[in-house]
Symmetry: C2
Subunit: 368 residues, 2 copies
């Protein structure tokens, strides 16, 4: 059947009637019991006779009874679902984190509701309100580049909503946090560049408001200083939208190569989107990477290693971060007593040094 033409199909039968699920009341009526008996039988309560129990359970199984989670949520004031807010799921780092989150959540009977802020504070707030009113039991969040007003999150936290931050954390809110050792990761990467002879190293940074930007720049600066190199302010360029808009990366890179100065011999990109954005701009400008300008940066996309020659990248353990964050969150949710000590879990990033376009399988070589 060759497509290309619109295919129209007729379905005469009634099709828009409401999707009616079997309820506990239906079972009660059908079996001549009361709803409470049915409810208890389904919950395998000890005070129900084996015969009744079997009767109810068989009927429920046969008719594929599913308890209505909406009603349950209303009653129990909990939904057994957790909310996740990230800037965008198309970013490999975040989609990998989400996989880790789902992994732990599902194993513990929780569902995951994902929302994207697309680096907009307004959307973040909107999502936050939707999720909380949707009675999520807890929240895992990596704040947007725009977010500088944490009052809503703070209030949420104070009112008892379990929250775990990851990656882009909020220092001033007391709760569990999961990050990689951004300082060390960038320090090592910068030292790696210096050891390979680069002296004029620029940094392409995310919004200055973000915790990760502060930590990563600190690593960059310390590495330069420790190796007798001067930190030049105009070699640090910020992208306020984290590279979400390509033109801001272009402006930043153009700034580095601006008016008469010879430009950096290496650039270190301090976020996933900045790495790919920078690579794209460099190619568009016709600068050979790494011959004319070396590039090193954060990235969790597998495609980066297919580049030729492959980029040296800083890779975050995204999946584990998701897992750790979720474990912490579930602990917060399920602990009966108030938690008074909050933990900041610091994982290690990997520096994956790719040699060249080798004709045999390349092994990632993490630097110790």
């Amino acid at each position: 059947m060759a497509p290309g033409s619109q295919e129209l199909v007729n379905l005469p039968s009634a099709c828009n009637m409401k999707f009616e699920a079997l309820t506990i009341k239906d079972i009660a009526k059908a079996l001549g019991l009361s709803t409470s008996t049915v409810s208890r039988a389904l919950r395998d309560s000890y005070e129900i006779s084996p015969e009744t129990k079997k009767l109810v359970l068989d009927y429920a199984a046969l008719n594929n009874y599913q308890p209505n989670p909406i009603a349950l949520s209303l009653k129990e004031r909990r939904s057994r679902s957790i909310g996740v807010i990230v800037c965008e799921i198309a970013n490999s780092f975040f989609s990998q984190t989400i996989n880790g989150i789902e992994n732990i959540a599902y194993n513990n009977g929780y569902n995951v509701i994902i929302a994207q802020s697309r680096e907009s504070f307004d959307r973040e707030l909107l999502n936050l309100q939707y999720l909380t009113s949707r009675s999520i039991d807890g929240l895992i969040i990596s704040v947007s580049t725009e977010t500088k007003d944490f009052s809503y999150l703070k209030e949420l936290n104070q009112r008892g909503m379990p929250i775990v931050f990851f990656d882009r954390i909020v220092d001033e809110i007391d709760t569990h946090k999961v990050i990689v050792d951004n300082y060390k990761g960038v320090y090592d990467a910068t030292v790696h560049l210096i050891k390979n002879g680069y002296r004029n190293i620029a940094a392409l940074a995310n919004s200055g408001q973000l915790s990760i930007t502060r930590e990563r720049l600190a690593g960059y600066k310390a590495a330069l200083a420790d190796n007798g190199l001067e930190v030049q302010d105009d070699m640090i360029r910020y992208c306020e939208h984290g590279g979400m808009i390509l033109s801001e990366v272009e402006n930043a890179v153009n700034g580095l190569f601006g008016k008469g100065n010879k430009g950096p011999d290496a650039i270190i990109a301090l976020a996933d989107k900045l790495t790919t954005g920078c690579l794209r701009i460099l190619k568009e400008k016709g600068r050979k990477v790494p011959e004319e300008t070396a590039l090193i940066g954060f990235s969790n996309t597998d495609l980066t290693e297919l580049l030729d020659p492959p980029l040296t990248i800083i890779k975050q353990p995204a999946f584990e971060m998701g897992e750790v964050a979720t474990s912490q969150l579930l602990q917060l949710i399920e602990s009966k007593r108030p938690i008074t000590r909050f933990e900041t879990r610091v994982l290690e990033s990997e520096l994956l040094i790719r040699k060249s376009s080798a004709s045999k399988p390349r092994k990632a070589k993490p630097v110790s």
Copy 2:
């Protein structure tokens, strides 16, 4: 503050108390009104006096009243949220589709709940059950590679759940569908290869159960036949998990280059994951792309165009597909009368032919 050490913080105040939201009842009590009056005032009902209305609205605004959607869902038997099931959000095609879906959904006051099947039928079914019991108002789905039993979906559809399929559709279920013209897309791509002198063109296909696989292979075969080339069965290799497991791609590619035959001079990869997987395997095998083996395939990742030389790719209008699917779904949800005519919307894919590592910005050149 250098990280690297675990940081412990003390928060003495009570923090695990339940997050209690303001209800309509609270407002009624505070204002000495009945709950129904408050409810009606909030809904701006005509039968409430302006003064009372103002009183209630002001109080609500001041105390940041948020209606509880759970209670609303229970009452109205609708949740104003739609479910989306895809194999994985890390796939750029799907994350772009989701962006399109969210775009339309949010503009119409709907929320989007995303679930991943990870190409597993079991997980797909589980998600399906969760979403439906969670009383979603409609469903947008692209089925997993494993799915051959459509009875659950069929029953859901018959019971009145609005469903829209996209990309990997189910022919036998009568409802709206959104696809690209897979036949034409692959036909054109194959002709492009033939025109460039390739004669020994292999196809790397997704699971044979998928609609897209059938349509795409039909385009491939027709292009060969129309140009006097023979279709050889051993030049078509299937990856049952859609490239989710790299080893299956490796086996498929190894099969093409197996025992004594000289192997194809070009490969056409019929899905995003297969394109990147195949590229990876070819590189690992040390085969130069495109000099020794040309590669062309579906891809929606921007990174593919950063490859050097850039790949020629078939790009699907993912964002639009999401938008179209959502428009159709909302129409299904909100139409009062039963729909009897279902539409299959066929969009065009783009063949992006990349020349070489040009030193100036490359423009995508769609083939007419």
